[in-house]
């Protein structure tokens, strides 16, 4: 039992490593990059280079993977010579500061040739002052300085070499600005330390947007799961008990059709019926800033689409398992003991028949995730799936990685639950 769980956990780790590396490599190997995706295809090579440099995307792949995994602050802190600290402001923004020996926080900006320090005192008072004494002599006579800038990056400034850079300004998008540096390391704690980084597409922290999206998707998936399970298991058992008879025929064929029709086709059918023809329900689920449960009418169609598909699948699996169990010699024994039909079914058959579906259903969560993505796209539902799809399209690596990791955890986690349920239900494993 313990071994079982350990094995799954190892599998989870292996899968996460494979997927995270895979995402990096595949994103890398494919044509185009996030700069083009975001800035449009008329971007100049200089603009593109500046953009990639600022985001640290010009580093070699292994380094980027390492940074993503373990963060960059520890490397940057070595360069700067001061420890770094991450703060969250009252308005919810993340800020990176270097910490002076005095306990005050500091960061810098370059104004012309001058290095201006912004100091945040422990009492909250902010002070700006010239800080040119920090320039250090480098090879080739040029003075340089490693510091933290106002955009949460460790930067390398070189005196007299103010490059043009492209900066993201809220509301305006990407604009050209002076005060550029030669090297940038975007600061982050790394995935292992709970920081999936900043979305390249939106500039906002991935964790935050992901949370809302994940919540929305969970609402969708769990409502349909709660509706489907009891119905599907019950129908599956009924079909299994009436094997080969008309009820079973009907249930099996309808179940099969539901389970194999692609989610988008099912969604289209339901929209046509309920939104266009009957005009009972809205044909899209656009909540804006509201939570899904604030518009239950918009939830019905996506939930229904997902439910019908799951219903078909679970019904089929349960039916097959029930049929097999009802044909087994121990059920024959039970009948020949003279037990009434309901006792045979409920005491002898049911638990045996549910062992197989539970594992299979849990394995199916993997597919369910796919269904959720499609349903979200069909209905414009802003959930994890759509987020992931958009991230993939833009090659927004941080968002993609985080979304992928969540999916893997959900998929493998349910397998773990399935394993535990299986051992619990099956004494042959429990009492080995």
């Amino acid at each position: 039992m313990g071994w079982f769980i350990l094995r799954r956990l190892v599998l989870l780790l292996v899968t996460m490593v494979i997927v995270s590396v895979g995402v990096f490599i595949i994103t890398e190997a494919s044509p185009g990059n996030v700069a083009r995706n975001l800035l449009g295809s008329f971007v100049t090579p200089e603009q593109e280079a500046s953009f990639l440099n600022q985001l640290g995307l010009d580093e070699p792949l292994w380094k980027r993977y390492l940074y993503w995994l373990a963060g960059t602050d520890w490397i940057a802190s070595k360069r700067i010579g001061l420890p770094l600290e991450r703060l969250t402001t009252e308005r919810g923004f993340t800020e990176w500061w270097a910490k002076l020996p005095s306990g005050d926080l500091i960061r810098w900006q370059l104004k012309g040739e001058d290095l201006v320090a912004v100091i945040k005192h422990q009492d909250g008072r902010i002070e700006e002052k010239l800080d040119n004494r920090r320039w250090r002599k480098g090879g080739g006579g040029r003075e340089f300085f490693w510091g933290v800038d106002l955009h949460n990056r460790a930067v390398l400034w070189q005196k007299g070499l103010s490059k043009k850079q492209w900066v993201y300004v809220h509301g305006k998008g990407w604009v050209e600005a002076a005060g550029g540096a030669t090297d940038y390391i975007p600061l982050k704690k790394g995935f292992l330390r709970g920081d999936p980084g900043i979305s390249l597409r939106t500039g906002r922290p991935v964790a935050k947007s992901l949370f809302v999206r994940l919540r929305n998707s969970l609402v969708l998936a769990s409502i349909s799961f709660v509706i489907v399970m009891p119905i599907a298991l019950a129908l599956g058992i009924v079909a299994g008990l009436t094997a080969e008879r008309p009820i079973d025929r009907a249930l099996s064929i309808v179940g099969m059709a539901f389970s194999v029709i692609p989610e988008f086709a099912m969604g289209i059918f339901l929209i046509l019926i309920f939104a266009l023809w009957l005009r009972w329900l809205p044909g899209a689920s656009v909540f804006g800033n509201h939570a899904p449960w604030e518009r239950p009418d918009m939830l019905i169609l996506p939930v229904l689409t997902l439910s019908l598909i799951e219903l078909g699948y679970v019904l089929r699996i349960t039916r097959a398992s029930m049929v097999e169990v009802m044909r087994s010699p121990y059920i024959r024994t039970a009948y020949l003991k003279g037990l009434p039909h309901h006792v045979v079914v409920f005491k002898h058959a049911l638990r045996n028949a549910l062992i197989a579906p539970i594992t299979v259903i849990m394995l199916h969560v993997n597919w369910l995730l796919g269904g959720v993505v499609i349903v979200e796209v069909v209905f414009g539902y802003s959930g994890l799936g759509k987020y992931l799809l958009d991230s993939a399209m833009y090659k927004d690596i941080n968002a993609l990685e985080a979304g992928a990791m969540i999916m893997v955890v959900v998929a493998v986690g349910t397998q773990l639950v399935a394993d535990i349920a299986y051992t619990f239900l099956n004494p042959r494993i429990r009492f080995k």
């Binding site: 494979i18 997927v19 995402v23 194999v260 289209i268 266009l276 799936g385 399209m393």
Partner: protein, 312 residues
């Protein structure tokens, strides 16, 4: 009742055995028609195969011909299923779309292979999956352990994620769709074949081959592989159904064949935008097409499987 002195043990089989090649090749059809489910499935699948093979004769339009004057029309005499937002004939797009799924595989703009994209995907999955499954199952030990753990990891990666990564990364093309289908399908086939191999491996005829000192390759491919045929055929049929499903899904996500190819999934995706504007046809027909083909393939496979196991 005549003289039976000639009747001996050999004769029981004698009569049945010398069957003509014709009756042998008709046997699968007899099997299909003995199941109502399989017959219905067979009819649906045949319909799509026939319309896609004869597509050029079944419509005067080309799938990419745009009639600017008639966008988003409903069914009419000129356009039996209506037109899409660019005034392209939906029937033409539908049956040429079926062609890509079932009959031809557009490798590149100049190269077309016979056998649909879905079929190629399944074939590739079969090739990779059954080889892995055979090796893993027959060799056992650490090879099995490694292959199986890798497949476990593969299987636990959400399929949609794989699609997104593969096709988003590799770009939209029929070859990439085939690769995606193959990668997603191979682990399942490998597990199936491994299971069959583990079972067949214990048979005495494998022992007999081993005691002849046959090589592993001989045992795997000559002794074991032919005996996995039955379950693999049924599984492959289901997988073709799934491949059609996958093609549709990929197309719908914008990851299918590049426009203006008549790709069912992308037809739905495009048509979806016009549903609420009152032009549901462009989204409806390809949805119906995919649903019916997938359901047909599943009916066929299910019916066959049931028929094969019914009287055991």
């Amino acid at each position: 009742m005549g003289d039976v002195s000639q009747l001996n043990e050999y004769e029981y089989i004698e009569g049945k055995e010398r069957k003509s090649l014709l009756s042998k090749s008709l046997r699968p059809f007899a099997l299909i028609f003995s199941s109502r489910t399989a017959t219905v499935g067979f009819a649906i699948v045949s319909f799509w195969i026939i319309v896609s093979v004869f597509a050029p004769f079944l419509t005067p339009y080309s799938p990419t011909y745009q009639d600017w004057k008639a966008p988003n029309q409903g069914p009419s005499w000129n356009h039996p299923l209506g037109t899409d937002e660019l005034g392209r004939d939906l029937w033409a797009r539908l049956i040429y779309g079926a062609r890509i799924v079932l009959v031809i595989f557009p490798v590149s703009s100049g190269l077309w292979l016979p056998g649909g994209t879905a079929l190629w995907g399944v074939a590739m999955a079969l090739l990779v999956g059954s080889t892995l499954g055979l090796i893993s199952g027959y060799k056992g030990g650490w090879i099995d352990e490694i292959v199986m753990r890798l497949l476990d990891a593969m299987i636990s990666i959400p399929v949609i994620l794989l699609y997104l990564l593969l096709v988003a990364a590799l770009g939209a093309s029929a070859v990439n769709v085939v690769i995606a289908i193959a990668i997603v399908g191979a682990p399942g086939i490998a597990r199936l074949v491994r299971g069959l191999t583990l079972d067949i491996k214990t048979r005495d005829y494998i022992r007999a081959a081993e005691t002849r000192g046959e090589s592993s390759l001989y045992i795997m491919f000559v002794e074991i592989l032919p005996n996995t045929k039955g379950p693999i055929i049924i599984d492959a049929m289901l997988r073709v159904g799934y491949a059609v499903f996958a093609m549709g899904t990929l197309g719908f996500l914008g990851l299918g064949l590049p426009p203006p190819s008549p790709d069912w999934g992308s037809m739905v995706a495009k048509g979806r935008e016009f549903i609420l504007a009152g032009a549901p046809w462009a989204a409806l027909w390809p949805s119906v097409a995919i649903a019916s083909l997938v359901v047909g393939l599943n009916l066929l496979a299910d019916g066959l499987r049931e028929e094969l196991t019914r009287y055991q």
